[in-house]
């Protein structure tokens, strides 16, 4: 399984055979391979682009027309004042933004930035050729016993611990991973910020869904990272979804302002249902999304020039038989590629929704949706792939077994994005020359030292071998793997300074009293 693989294989010439320590060493290495958290993935493959230059110009022109002539609603008085002062045409809540204004604002947004983790080794880079994977969740949890239910407070540490053990997943999350049904709504965010800070040392994402949640996220990050550090560095990222078509809602804007003002990153994401919240036209839909997301990124610059902000799109489709969101459909892949091109056109870091499925269980539909979306996101050059593990039911369910399966899929995408090995061709030619009577290269030193990707959660054995191993389906294998990984958490649990932990808990206690 993905977490157990020691290193993304790097190709090398064959080295001399040495004593390796025999069985004991090999068994230890294979059975208890260290979990090596992946650093930021730097893409070495070309991106897949569907638009020619004319296409990019058309989408841009259409987006500018939308911004200048149709306008976007900003349901927030302060936002409207900021736009007015900046020279936009504001009438009621409708803001029409001249193209020169929007372009000059987005130029202030950093094309790349660093998202710091409390352990500097886990710090990641957002933008450019960098790619990172981040999980999200939903309303229901499908737990380690395979029971679909509402999550409770006690589940969140388990979720965060599992994400911590998933080597290919760069960022951890307390939110919006899952809401905790036994905690009053106004207090939930406290655990959702605490758990990722406490149980993982990967970078975190946090909730900007309300003023309290946004302020507590920043405050608790200050406790962990230090106030000065937070003031001049990005240590968390929040997600603001646009209420497409063409509306930025007050709740989201309030949170976005708090984050931007504190120098923390905001993902400005139209979470669109293609054909429902956009017209069913690929270029037109991306023009709409471009206008919406650019307006968000530009707004962040009004709040604080230079504020890190992500361009984004989270495209879903719609079943015209019911209105239900669909995931692994061809148009969503097209939208993913088009959004990537536009992000690069504007030199903005960008986020996309990854391997989510509409399926209720871990089945063919889940695998199909996940694979299509994961590879589309990878080939599109997305900098930030969210919902990158565990998401089912159109992001309504967070599933432990799928978390591990998706992590393996994201590991495969990692290997894919790292590109090709252009050296060693001479070795290969030599292997062909030296093949002798062998009909294969399985025994070659070069093969031993350059093991291809090993999908451990897929079962590719013969039928009888599969039966002998217990006839387990993918879901059962995923659940087992999740349990095995969680058993290993204790070995890699990142320590948190007890004084910091105490300060976090004290802050939470205080806020619990204030917020109830």
């Amino acid at each position: 399984m993905s977490g157990d693989q020691s290193e993304v294989p790097t190709k090398s010439k064959v080295s001399r055979r040495r004593r390796s320590g025999g069985r004991a060493t090999r068994r230890e290495a294979r059975l208890h391979a260290p979990i090596i958290h992946r650093p930021t993935l730097v893409r070495e493959i070309p991106v897949y682009e569907l638009l020619d230059a004319e296409g990019v110009a058309l989408v841009h022109e259409t987006a500018m027309t939308i911004l200048e002539e149709i306008g976007i609603d900003f349901i927030d008085d302060e936002a409207l004042d900021l736009w007015k002062d900046a020279g936009a045409d504001v009438s009621g809540t409708l803001v029409r933004i001249p193209r020169e204004l929007v372009m000059s604002l987005i130029e202030q947004a950093p094309p790349e930035f660093t998202l710091h983790a409390r352990n500097p080794d886990r710090t990641v880079r957002i933008g450019g050729r960098n790619m990172i994977f981040h999980p999200n969740g939903g309303a229901y949890l499908c737990d380690l016993e395979g029971v679909r239910r509402r999550a409770v407070k006690a589940d969140l540490p388990t979720i965060v611990k599992l994400v911590h053990c998933l080597a290919p997943i760069h960022v951890t999350t307390g939110w919006p991973s899952i809401d905790l049904s036994d905690i009053p709504v106004p207090l939930q965010h406290l655990d959702q910020i605490y758990c990722p800070l406490r149980y993982s040392d990967k970078p975190i994402c946090s909730n900007l869904y309300s003023r309290d949640a946004s302020e507590d996220a920043i405050e608790m990050c200050r406790i962990v990272f230090g106030t000065d550090f937070v003031d001049s560095n990005t240590v968390t990222t929040g997600l603001a979804n646009c209420n497409s078509p063409l509306k930025w809602d007050g709740t989201m804007l309030e949170g976005a302002k708090i984050f931007a003002r504190a120098g923390q990153a905001v993902i400005f994401c139209p979470f669109v249902i293609y054909g429902a919240s956009t017209p069913p036209h690929q270029l037109g839909a991306v023009a709409q999304v471009t206008a919406e997301s650019l307006a968000g990124v530009a707004f962040a610059q009004l709040v604080r020039p230079g504020a890190p902000a992500l361009f984004a799109n989270a495209p879903m489709g719609v079943s015209m038989k019911s209105g239900a969101p669909t995931l692994g459909v061809p148009e969503t892949s097209q939208l993913i590629y088009l959004t990537g091109q536009m992000a690069r056109h504007y030199k903005l870091p960008w986020r996309v929704l990854g391997p989510v499925s509409g399926s209720k269980i871990v089945d063919y539909c889940a695998g199909n949706d996940a694979a299509l979306r994961a590879y589309s996101a990878t080939l599109s050059g997305a900098n930030w792939i969210s919902h990158s593990c565990g998401s089912l039911e159109g992001a309504m369910q967070f599933n432990f077994a799928k978390m591990v399966h998706d992590a393996e899929l994201m590991e495969a995408c990692t290997v894919f994005a790292k590109g090709l090995n252009y050296s060693d061709i001479d070795v290969v030619v030599q292997m062909l020359r030296d093949r002798g009577d062998d009909s294969h290269f399985l025994g070659a030193d070069y093969t031993r030292e350059n093991l291809p990707f090993l999908p451990e959660l897929q079962d590719n054995e013969t039928h009888d071998t599969w039966v002998a191993n217990g006839s387990k389906d993918g879901y059962a294998r995923g659940l087992e793997a999740a349990r095995r990984l969680l058993d290993r958490y204790a070995d890699i649990e990142p320590a948190l300074d007890p004084a910091i932990d105490e300060a976090l808990l004290a802050h939470m206690k205080k806020r619990e009293r204030e917020l109830v």
Binding site: A139, Y140, V185, D249, M320, K321, G323
Partner: protein, 238 residues
């Protein structure tokens, strides 16, 4: 066979009603309005036009929607055609003593701005002949109450898509309870994260898993309401 040039006037009543069923199916608003006017001219009772031509036509649309033969945009066209016919009939129905089709106030609860599903439900309900007052998103209890007061509907519909906002449905229902008006309304709730057990726990009358089911459930409750209203009248008279 599709034929654009049918002269509705030339059809006898039976053929005209059958044609109206097809025109509803095809979402032809002008033709439905014309059909309604012709039947009125021919002396039909507004209630008969409603039930035999429109509601029956939409019942057929509903079946094919559930079976996956008709698609959402097509059903919305049908619903729009139905609305056209209803607009003509509504004042006449109000004057007659025909049993009402039903009225619903619907909105997405406080803190929640998801409305695609709610809008779909509202349109399907209108398509089935209900009068729908959509009060929008992010609705606090007092606004629900004010709308109930103002419009006197049979049904209160609430939608929520967030687990953090769905508990608010209980706040609204408890407020109805406190004001002593809970039993005046059928309370229907829906939204992807809800389920039967949740609806029961907040004291709603029913959970509606999708738009088509909502229509069915609403019709059932209207039938029951009319049944109990009639029996109340009978009790009083007797």
């Amino acid at each position: 066979m599709a034929d654009d040039d049918i002269d509705l006037q030339a059809l006898n009543d039976e053929d005209l009603v059958a044609q109206m069923h097809d025109d509803l199916y095809d979402g032809l608003k002008d033709e439905i309005e014309e059909g309604v006017r012709i039947l009125l001219e021919r002396g039909w009772e507004s209630y008969d036009i409603l039930t035999k031509a429109l509601v029956e036509g939409m019942r057929i649309v509903g079946i094919d929607f559930r079976e996956g033969i008709l698609f959402v945009p097509e059903v919305l066209m049908s619903a729009n055609a139905m609305k056209g016919g209803m607009a003509i009939l509504r004042p006449l129905l109000a004057e007659s003593n025909a049993p009402p089709m039903g009225k619903m106030v619907i909105g997405t609860v406080k803190g929640d701005i998801h409305d695609i599903g709610k809008n779909l439900v509202a349109m399907m309900m209108e398509g089935a002949g209900f009068e729908v007052i959509d009060i929008g998103i992010n609705i606090p209890a007092e606004d629900y109450l004010a709308a109930l007061e103002e419009h006197q509907p049979d049904i209160l519909g609430m939608s929520a898509l967030l687990t953090t906002t769905m508990p608010y449905m209980k706040v609204v229902i408890d407020t109805l309870q406190e004001k002593g008006v809970r039993s005046d309304y059928v309370v229907l709730v829906g939204g992807a994260p809800l389920n039967e057990a949740f609806a029961e726990s907040v004291g709603a009358d029913a959970y509606c898993r999708d738009a088509a089911t909502t229509v069915e459930i609403a019709k059932e409750f209207m039938a029951r309401r009319q049944g109990s209203a009639e029996s109340r009248i009978r009790e009083k008279v007797g």
